[in-house]
């Protein structure tokens, strides 16, 4: 049994063709032959040098894909060979011989050095690969769908208020970029504040604060510190106080369930987990944004549903018709469809869009109200 390769002494970058072969199985001895070419250029004949090496002076690197096998000699010299099968056969030869003769020290030595070839077997076994792929995908799915939301939920409720206050400090940035001061009259603002006041007092722990801003869209949203922002266009959109209260309850639902904090925690955990699963951020960098974004949107839809449920319950508790929630959703949808039409010139209603959306489809939300009404 002879393995061809090359030898590097670890002192200089000179590569020397070499051969490795077994001399004596019982003594676990090998022979390394080097084809050194004489320093004198005129010497045409190659000079061969041979060394005897004990097996326990060799460290066999584990086999890895198509890469050449590296055998470390006495900790610093290196024998490299493309003949992976030959190296494996050599190890097996020592092992089987040692088993027959009962020389346990040799078996253990070889065993320890060749243990990593198990990984190679796993990595080149098709059914193992399929099992690993299905298992990994399933684990990822289970983690993102069940474990992560549960984890971030419990974290969000354990976070001290100082942290959530910090998270709420994004309003000044929004003021600088997309918001202007509200153009609603002071009287109208006071009216709305007065309208919400009894309901704010129902949930004193949430520390809700109503804020008015002007922007070129109809929207209402909450910040982790309890700020609930209404845009002027949104106030104009609502036909009556009940509709305003319905949306206010929805935002209160976000606060009650600490959705924004949970979303922030989940967002950072998703990237951490993807990093640990795939092991490198370099490749993932270009595409890591995508799964993170998709996951974030899926979580966001769940949160919207949770906030919707909170709003509908609160409306019923306060004897306000739940239809007002459906009405304001309907109006928002029509407005958004109009906006989208003017921008893209097409109407998007496919299910793909549903997946790519941060909110449940308005139809779904309106249907829920209908179901609720029928149930009562």
């Amino acid at each position: 049994m002879m393995i061809k390769g090359y030898y590097l002494d670890g002192q200089t970058s000179k590569r020397v063709p070499a051969r490795l072969e077994i001399v004596n199985r019982t003594e676990a001895m090998l022979k390394l032959s080097l084809e050194t070419i004489g320093l004198d250029v005129t010497a045409l004949e190659s000079i061969e040098k041979t060394f005897l090496i004990a097996l326990h002076d060799l460290t066999f690197e584990s086999r890895l894909g198509n890469t050449p096998r590296e055998i470390i000699i006495a900790g610093e010299q290196l024998f490299v060979s493309d003949d992976n099968d030959g190296v494996d056969a050599l190890l097996r030869a020592f092992k089987s011989h040692a088993q027959i003769t009962g020389k346990n020290s040799v078996v253990q030595g070889v065993g320890a050095r060749a243990s990593h070839s198990l990984l190679y077997k796993v990595e080149s076994n098709l059914s193992m690969i399929i099992v690993a792929a299905i298992f990994s995908v399933a684990m990822m799915w289970a983690f993102f769908v069940f474990a992560l939301p549960a984890l971030s939920k419990s974290l969000a409720f354990k976070l001290p208020d100082t942290m959530t206050q910090k998270l709420g400090s994004s309003l000044p940035i929004l003021d600088k970029t997309i918001f202007d001061d509200s153009e609603l009259s002071a009287q109208r603002q006071a009216e709305i504040q007065q309208l919400f006041l009894p309901y704010i007092e129902q949930y004193p722990k949430l520390n809700a604060q109503i804020i008015f801003r002007a922007a070129n869209m109809a929207n209402a949203f909450s910040l982790p510190n309890g700020d609930i922002v209404f845009t002027d266009k949104f106030i104009e959109l609502a036909d009556n106080d009940d509709e305003l209260i319905a949306v206010f309850f929805h935002e209160l639902g976000h606060l009650q369930h600490r959705h924004l904090t949970r979303r922030a925690i989940q967002g950072s955990l998703v990237s951490v987990v993807i990093f640990f699963m795939t092991g490198d951020l370099d490749t993932a960098d270009a595409v890591i944004g995508l799964p993170t974004l998709l996951a974030d949107m899926a979580y966001s839809r769940d949160f919207e549903r949770e906030a919707d449920a909170f709003a509908l319950q609160a409306l019923q508790d306060n004897h306000i018709p739940v239809q007002s929630f459906a009405n304001i959703m309907e109006k928002l949808t029509q407005l958004n469809v109009k906006d989208e039409n003017s921008l893209w010139g097409l109407r998007s209603s496919s299910t793909v869009v549903e997946y790519l959306s941060s909110h449940p489809s308005p139809q779904e939300r309106i249907n829920r109200v209908k179901q609720l009404k029928e149930a009562h």
Binding site: A132, F276, T278, G279, D282
Partner: protein, 350 residues
Amino acid sequence: MDTVSDGANLAATPNTYNNSISNSSARKLPFEFRGDGMEYFKIWIVNIFLTVLTLGIYSAWATVRSNRYFYSNLYLEDVNFRYLANPITILKGRLIAIAALIAYIVASSLIPMLGIALLITLLVAMPYLVNQSMAFKMRMSAYKNIQFRFKASYGEACMVLFVWPILGIITLGILYPLAFLKMNQYVVRNSAYGTTKFNFTATYKDYGVVFLIMLGVGLVCSLFIWLINTFMPVLSPVSMLIMVLMYFGMIVYFIVSMNTIFYSHLNIAEHSFATTINMMDLAKVILINIGLVIVTFGLYLPAAKVRMTKYLASTISLNAVGSLDHFVAAEQENISALGEEFGNVFDFGV
């Protein structure tokens, strides 16, 4: 930060390098990556599988196997590179770094002041950790059984991590190309192959031109988009398209220019490097990769990494003057993976 002795040590290196006289004509030696997407996918998926099964412990072994695959498949003159790290070393570093991260999160949420104190400690330690991380990366890489190495002072790391970037911002970007130059000089000039140091000859101008071109293109495109949006609002989808194209183009241009500047000014002894990387080819590789990764829900990720590495390796070549047989190894040295793992966990690094 025992730099004095190191400086003396490295200053002596030109003498230890054995000049070859016999052959002085330059040969163009291409780098070649012989990895295979399917083969790496198998290694990658088994890595994930075992990492999950062992609750993350295997991740250190996974890192080593993955890195070994990429180093061992990179060939120059028909000889492959090697990755030498021991998984146990990486695991230790990783566990300490994660423990530090958890301690930081817990401490800062309970006592905000303590969090700030820890953050300052991390900032102070960062230059040291980045030096360690670079040293680990280099020491764990070998070619022809000779290790690469890296030695930089705390002060140097401080300059490239904090001082130059801050100066770049204060001067409204005028000195920002200099921060890039200094960073690359720090990386290259403190690196060595065995006892032979690398050299880097790029200038402020090389980087400045890239930044000016990007600024110019950015301004022209913004003007164009503004014109469309103001005078032809109907065409606003077109302006969106221009924005996306500009963004993508800028990224590709930046990667290509940085690579070109880096390799065309990189030298070791009398050997120099060159790259043929270009925007069209790189854009093609990126787009194919992104497309396939999306279609396969991420399962193409390992093959995408192989394709990118294959392309990048194929663009780089070494202009060797004479033989590459005369590089000499430096003394052995043990470096912990702490800096490397802190960099990964706290998201900093070079």
